[in-house]
Symmetry: C2
Amino acid sequence: MDNLTIALDAMSGDFGPRVIVPAALQALDLHRNLHLILVGSSAEINIFLPNKHPRLTVIKSSSVIPNDMKPSLAIRRSQGSSMRMALELVNSKEAQACVSAGNTGALMGLSKLLLHSISGIKRPALVATLPTIKDGNTVILDLGANIESDSEMLVQFAIMGSILANTVLNIVNPRVALLNIGKEDIKGLERIRVAANKLKTNHYFNFVGYLEGDELLSGKTDVLVCDGFTGNVTLKTVEGLIKIFLSSNQLMTKNKSIFARLTRYWMQKKMMNYFGHLDPNHYNGACLLGLQSIVIKSHGAASQSSFLAAIEHAILAIENNLPERIASSLSSILPKSEKN
Amino acid sequence: MDNLTIALDAMSGDFGPRVIVPAALQALDLHRNLHLILVGSSAEINIFLPNKHPRLTVIKSSSVIPNDMKPSLAIRRSQGSSMRMALELVNSKEAQACVSAGNTGALMGLSKLLLHSISGIKRPALVATLPTIKDGNTVILDLGANIESDSEMLVQFAIMGSILANTVLNIVNPRVALLNIGKEDIKGLERIRVAANKLKTNHYFNFVGYLEGDELLSGKTDVLVCDGFTGNVTLKTVEGLIKIFLSSNQLMTKNKSIFARLTRYWMQKKMMNYFGHLDPNHYNGACLLGLQSIVIKSHGAASQSSFLAAIEHAILAIENNLPERIASSLSSILPKSEKN
């Protein structure tokens, strides 16, 4: 694909240019057709940019949206901010996608304002692809764009998740489940039960029922749907635990005998073999699905390698024409009356 | 303590008497002052009861509340059921506590109906003590008794959790946190933010702010408060992942060389050393806190050892006079107007 251009909100996240500039340079090394536009304070960016790069442009912004600012206020004060300017580059077609590790609520609000939702989508959702224990993948949404989600929104998340599983993961007739606190029909919140009834009776979906928290990595579903609050807490819980376990061999460093060192090495290797693919750093980058353009939200605390993963998510979404495919699939699923 | 008597709903859970009878016999072996009353089908119980036990009584019930029955219907049809009869034994003071692995909603409803809430408590909550990575403990509630919880309920959960942490875990001035999707004041659902303001301004609480999913086992708080839906999904997520990791050495059994076997043994030992205390089987048994009596909810899928853990939770609650201590602490915390 020619002309692959992505705008990065270089001031975003806990580390800003310190992490984002090196991640950008690494992405440029890996993808020869990639152009990146870094939006932020040139002075701060230049500290981490040893030389000019022919496929990297810096655009100066005048402010940064704070992480702890209320989204509504952040949006009112967003003029000239690195996040807004990066999104404006997508709006003006100078970039095909935007990646930011900034304030989720502000990113969601500004994206809707500047880039618009796909016709028929009530609210865009944050989606990620979670690796399963058996080397498969589960598309999970919403991860925090909509902390309260009614049954209609849950059904729309199921539609978008199914299309993503089908187009990006190449899964034919993807299985869809709702995250709930039990398997039985009567379990859970009313909005979940109403969504389940809608999913059951719509032939578009391969609805497999409710999934409980302990089956999250089981691979029993291809798409897992939940409200943004539950999704955010659950994903962070999974990530936190995996990090604890993957670093567990570091806890065991007291014994310095050769046998202990060898087994530690073996254990680390085995742990990485079996669980390395679950490492949150590898799948960082949630896509704000349901917009007419591509916006990727990185973790605020992303490291260089995990911000790189977010850039690669953006590349994959561009190469798969994700927004267009969602829009065209939607028109065949939703009854005309449900579209805007 | 003399006269320690607990009623067990012997027909409850996925395995009924097959698991509960052996767990009961094990508990009787371990606790010489313990008496158990098994409520259920004598025929089914006797299959797993090789001999009469001087400290075990069987009381015949005529029905079992199905797991998938709507709580309201289950309660209407509960007369003569093993769950109701076990609770009635607590009501008539023939037993000091009841343990059931049955329908959570029905257990909650029947417990309120028969055993009553402590004056001032709006809704009882399911609470468990989750081990932290550094050998500490975090009291977490609600785990599913109230799938929708308003800010007042969250504050009451904080009160009950603090009293539990103080009386059972002997923590002076326990730290209290709310489970949320970010650290900043503006984050999360409105009911959580309102509860945070109430906890901040009440000097009874040592409120430490919001905790995110990835810090669940960090030991950064002694009491973690959330609504029952989020708590249930999160706890199950933690348990599912820990089980995957603790059984991970079973995945690595292909290589049969002596070195591989030795390191596997070493690895299993190390894993159990570092993470064995996180094994969900060890902390099974959530207490229905806020009632005037003690009711313990075991996992439906509990194994013998984990049902035993639930019985031991009941013993601990009896020995600590938990309901009385909550009632007396409550009267000094809640303004008189907030009590029933």
